[in-house]
Symmetry: C2
Subunit: 350 residues, 2 copies
DNA sequence: GTGAAAGCGCTAACAT
DNA sequence: ATGTTAGCGCTTTCAC
């Protein structure tokens, strides 16, 4: 029953309460070095009854070790990132390392600030979303002298190590699957992309693959903010009214794709025959929809796990581990119910 | 162009590079005290060109101030908590305080551990979800000597301050609205609740209000884990097959409610006439559904904002601010398209 | 198995 | 406006 403490307790308080030197108390509390079972118990008891909570600030300063891993992501409202996070947490859970999250809102200036703040706590490693950073951010990351794992995207040169997928390739793969299924008049719906590099790269890969087949995006529509499901609905209505002859809609993420799917179903559009749909990410939400939206798994779980493992390996092995790796995972297309696997008999007889 | 630093830079390095004492460098970097514009520039330049990042560990130890606010929540995958978080961040954004998030997975033992870890960094305040904690957690919170704001739930006695809604009352209010609309055979669908106190309290308030009207829950169904949308769908099918005469389904959250709604629409059930539906939380996702699910706003934005403001006020005013407050917000029922406002002409002529 | 001394990188409090 | 001194609460290192 600790009284409303005025001054936080210190090792010294525990030392005095237990009649053991500060040093030995410290050893007990950290399970380090040999301590007799007798003193060990005395100390533990004293610490507990006082309600002592060690001061990690002091500990970190003295030991020059901080068991934190900075995890920097663009957003928490896009479910994709919490999922990566939870994979990271799972791996780190049985280790002394602890993730600490920073959010950038997809903004370079925020990223710089968040990074600076986090590095000033001298974490043991950094896991950061994306492979595009400002020069200042890159300089900080390089200068920090700690393992840095860039995640989600491998289209670029990592500072240290990277784990992700190639979004350019993902866009290409989806375009190829769509073409193979016989769709030809393809619309694109997505976020305004100046900020989201991965969405942009998927778009680029997508158009590139279409171009190779002599095709272009037939129409497109972009959105900003707001409820993704609602936006998907609205955008789908807009683009279909403007270009009723489209036979496929590629969405830059599953949430707007889901909104589009709901719109199509309500309006009696024959999916996937008259109109095919596909999103991106493979979010769990899709399991509950009336039809399974075609999508592409973005390997979030594995990315999080691998990233954490890399940091862990580097922190444990004092020497720099395998640096400079760029691990590209391969996303799989899920056709679901909205992307047929081959052309209808009637059309595109080629 | 900082070389791959071996040893992190210190104030001393900046001091030497700029020919100014460590103390003055420190003053410049913190914008504290009077420094001539000339030296100010010299220092800033030196710091920048070296790529110096201050060591907050040392700073915090020396100043006995840590501008972190521990925010402890059950989960990141339930969108409700990221929303509270983002309200907290917004308020704290223009202040020196910074939120740091810990996740408990709805488990008391995790909460204890997370709390211990966070307190060992000596944060300036704690914002913690829920008002139910283990004795050990309560002792830690009391002993920390910092402002503690318990959020989301006001049904209980706060340790220090609380901001939230009464979930018992929320459950009652929904029951009353449902009864007023003439529904009588009411089913409940929700999470297994040993862990989620707020869901439990809503359930209790709900059944209590039914009891007052001489009614009982006609059937119920519980779930664990999995995709909420999909689960809502499955549970709805199950409960309706078992009890086809139900005329209302009350879901413990909007996601399973949304799944239920989709199921009903697909199966041609007349909502809200033959069957009414309601969820809880007022999540944005609902905006994109074919019909607006009845729900109840859980005031997440305001809760986050108020909580952050309380911590802020207490940290700024050195003296303890208004302690012991228990701010109960009032959720509003949104009838949407799935809960009619009064009985059908035909039934329940009373 | 235990203790004493030194110092981690910074800032408060006092000089000047 | 700038510099000096003395810690902050722990851990490292070395002694016993």
């Amino acid at each position: 029953m600790a009284e409303p403490a005025k001054r936080p307790l210190t090792l010294r308080d525990v030392s005095e309460a237990s009649g053991v030197s500060e040093m030995t108390v410290s050893r007990v509390l950290r399970n380090r070095g040999d301590v007799s079972e007798a003193t060990r118990q005395k100390v533990l008891e004293a610490a507990k009854s006082l309600g002592y909570v060690p001061n990690k600030i002091a500990g970190a300063l003295a030991s020059q070790r901080v068991n934190l891993v900075a995890v920097i992501i663009p957003s928490l409202s896009n479910m994709v990132f919490p999922e990566v996070l939870s994979a990271i947490s799972d791996v780190l859970d049985d280790t002394p390392l602890q993730p600490v999250v920073g959010v950038t809102n997809y903004r370079k200036d925020r990223e710089e600030k968040v990074l600076y703040e986090m590095l000033s706590w001298r974490p043991s490693g950094v896991i950061i979303a994306g492979i595009e950073h400002s020069d200042a951010s890159k300089a900080m990351l390089r200068g920090a002298g700690i393992p840095v794992v860039e995640i989600m995207d491998t289209d670029g040169t990592p500072i240290d190590a990277a784990v992700g997928i190639s979004h350019r390739r993902a866009g290409r793969m989806m375009a190829e699957a769509i073409l193979k299924a016989g769709y030809r008049r393809i619309g694109f719906l997505g976020t305004k992309m100046p900020l989201d590099h991965r969405a942009r790269k998927r778009f680029e890969g997508f158009t590139e693959a279409l171009a190779k087949a002599g095709l272009e995006i037939a129409d497109q529509e972009f959105y900003e903010g707001g409820s993704a499901l609602g936006k998907g609905r609205e955008m789908t209505e807009t683009i279909l009214k403007r270009s009723p002859d489209l036979d496929f809609l590629y969405y830059s993420n599953d949430m707007i794709g889901a909104g589009g799917l709901l719109y199509c179903l309500e309006n009696g559009i024959d999916v996937p025959n008259d109109l095919g749909l596909a999103g991106f990410n493979g979010v769990e939400l899709l399991q509950g929809l009336p039809r399974r939206l075609a999508t592409m798994d973005s390997c979030r779980e594995e990315i999080g796990r691998k990233a954490a493992e890399i940091v862990l390996a580097r922190v444990e092995g004092d020497e720099a581990g395998p640096s400079g790796q760029n691990i590209e995972l391969t996303p799989k297309i899920e056709h679901g119910d909205t992307l047929r696997k081959k052309p209808r008999d009637a059309d595109y007889p080629e």
